[in-house]
Amino acid sequence: MTYKFIGKRIKRNEDPRLLTGQALFVDDVDIPGMLHVAFVRSDYAHARILNIETEAARQHPGVVAVYTAEDMGDEWAPGPPLVSPPPTLAGVIFNSRRQSPLAKGKVYHAGEAIVAIVAESRYIAEDAADEVRVDYEPLPVVVDLEKAMGPDSPRVHDDLDTNLAAHMFQKKGDYEVARAQADLIIKKKFFLDRGAAVAMENRGVVAHWDEKSQQMTIWDTTQAPIPIRNGTAARLGLSQKQVRVIAPFLGGGFGPKAMMFYPEEMLIPWLSMKLCRPIKWIEDRRENFYATTSERQQVHEVEIALTNDGRVLGLKDDFLHDTGAFDPYGLTIPLNTQCHVTGPYDIQNIASNCTAVFTNKPIVTPVRGAGRPQGVFIIERMMDFAARELGMEPLELRVKNLIPPEAFPYDKEIIDQAFAKLILDSGNYLPVVEKAREMIGYDQFIKEEQPRLRAEGKFVGIGITPFIETTGVGPYEGVRIQIEPSGKVNVATGIGTQGQGHFTSFAQIVSEQLGVAVSDVSLVSGDTAEFHWGTGTFASRGAVVAGSATLAAATSVRTKVLKLASKVLETPEEELELEDGVVRVADLPHRSISLGELAALANPLRGAVEPGTEPGLEATDYFGPAYGATSFGVHAMIIEVDPETMMIEFKRYITVEDCGTVLNPLILEGQIHGGVSMGIGNSYYEKMHWDENGQLLNASLADYLIVTAHEMPNRIEVGHLETRSPFNKLGTKGVGEAGAIPVTACFTQALENALEEYHLEILESPLSPNRLYELLRNLTMSTYGREARK
């Protein structure tokens, strides 16, 4: 399909505002009379609250109010359960325990908010917070996942007999049969740990209750303004029309800003109503480490069954998943892990057993990848080990097991995060693998370059990893499009935007239908007053779901335009074309009318609008996919390990993506680059270190290492292939998380390859230079490093 706007490298509509500092972020909101909040947070991971002494803080000059859970009286209530377990899955156990606006009676993780101080300034609020004295009775702490499920473990929730948050079992075929038929069984145990999302902008909420208009306006760093609007209205006893939630520009979302209903999101609007004053709270970086959700800790015991010629017959995975102290977000992450643990491979027998575990650590909700990187890491590790055992070339083993193009749509028979069976809509995997192989020069590297560099004493290795990414799940999104008499086009959608380029990619879809310049299309996203139906920006669904709704609404407006223009120009619709902001007769281009003039005619001041028609050139449409669209891609890298410092240098980094129709390659590449940087962090730098008492030991950017330009590859080469999704008219698939998902798997493979002579077997992630050193030392090599080479 040839497009005029879609698929073009168009510079982003939003960038002039962002780059010149004109874009509104939550902390830019400043309202006369606004008060500021600071929280007293728990120093303990698990403790009973014996007493809270707030009198000194209340007396502190400039303090307006101090609230504890007790002070909230009957209005104290835990947050809503946001995502239920899949009703389509039999035998699921799910113990719902939710976070509350302020801790009552007990704290469940370090950093949990206990007291809110409202003051004239944040400085005063922070000083007064220091005056609060909380007496605790420390309780035994649950940190380790395996110990947490032991019979003698202390319990996170007193009213539960164990720390079991959830249990679910999923299967396809019969693993035991596959096992009996297999020539080779490999069994491994893997430990994956937590990392933070570390958005550049921390969270923040400004709430303004206007007593006279009885209206609540909330500026919130949320990825899902509409669910927050609905939930806030319900909590405060207001109608949904009385609450407006605005998610302005955000400095990154990455999942933790999705519909969590954080304590602060519940509390700040409530405070504003109580005090009849605008209230602001902006999270600081240390709070972010504790009070914002994080992800990825799991322990997997995996078994893979193969034939001698490298055919994977089955996979069995038994895993523990850390959900932190509460589980408001349900089972999204482990469901994704279950869907991705067989990767892009045709594996007919699967048994996946998931146990989600409560721990005295901050809440776990999706972080870019959301359980997918864990699944991909597991299957790709198993593929590496299998290739080694079988004496096969790792890529050959993978290619042998890829789902073939004729098998689509392919039923994984595993329920996914949308509560439907995961159907892989479309794909043609082999050409993507071949393209990546060619781009990185795989064969030439293995045969020539690597031996030559190794002879020079260099530790260079290659990794190449295919992966799938489930994207674009329902339930739905909607878009309203209106042509103004000026000829400019307004677009409004309910999803929020956190840097994805919606202002441009959605505009391209509109331009394609209406023939207007992309810069003449202006988008409002994430303002419930502008559009009040929808779910949010997460799960790589914006382009697919809201993008498809945009296409539907633009098509409806186009129909209205053509109908009216046909009448005005006295020409049949099929002879008209929309180009350069006008409708014209295709073979008589001077006979034309501008879209603006048509918009004015569609909204007459006299006469009557014909029965059965609506005024204006406006349409609202929705898109709700029954199934998501699943992208495919390959990452490949060549790395060099410095044997003295254990630092890594990326010599090459390749990604090849098949995400169906590409809306804007510039934006796509930006998404990939950002994702890769997160993936590199997840692989080798970023890890949250909890001690045995549930204290986070690296809650600052001095100790928690995020990837900087120095750790990034000099260049990330991005290739594309397009297999259009048949499940939406755009033919597109999501790509928001793709950059991050396979990196740990690919990196680990490359690392083992670089250090091949040590027969390293990596069973954990993330690693670090220190940890790699330990692993090598533990191999009790008599010598290693440069000495071994000589």
């Binding site: 120093d43 370090a110 240390r286 008492n693 204290q695 690296n698 001095a702 100790d703």
Partner: protein, 146 residues
């Protein structure tokens, strides 16, 4: 976190014992100690100013001496709470006669920290605690000469 080490005092064991059981001398020896008062048998209350990297604050708390076998060994238990977090620990101290009128102190124990002092200061805590112990023991050794 584990704390372990030894230190040689230039003085006889009885004298060393005497000074480590004297709260006034102990208060001058522990760096940052603002006060240390005997509030019960073998129980002290005090305040200590601590700085660990970017985290600084006053810890108020208790020091309890137990398992006392004079002049040989004792167990110290510390609990402190401040605006920057908490610390909790206990350790065993053993004194042994050495040649030439000197005394060897062996100490070993465990300290748990929480709050800001853990989340921001952890990286430096080990080094800071070692240096505080060294300074403190040095001060006590000086007190021996008086």
């Amino acid at each position: 976190m584990k704390i372990e080490g030894e230190y040689t005092f230039t003085g006889p064991r009885e004298k060393v014992w005497e000074i480590i059981r004297d709260p006034e001398i102990l208060a001058t020896a522990l760096p940052g100690t603002k006060k240390l008062e005997l509030v019960g048998e073998n129980e002290y209350e005090g305040e200590m100013q601590v700085r660990i990297g970017p985290v600084a604050g006053v810890f108020g708390g208790k020091l309890i001496v137990s398992n006392e076998v004079a002049p040989e060994s004792l167990t110290l238990t510390v609990e402190g709470v401040g605006k920057v977090g908490f610390l909790k620990g206990s350790g065993d101290i053993v004194l042994r006669d050495q040649d030439g009128n000197s005394t060897l102190m062996k100490y070993s124990g465990e300290v748990q920290i929480g709050g800001k002092v853990a989340s921001v200061g952890q990286r430096l805590f080990d080094a800071v605690s070692k240096s505080m112990i060294r300074q403190g023991l040095g001060k006590l050794n000086e007190a021996l000469r008086v």
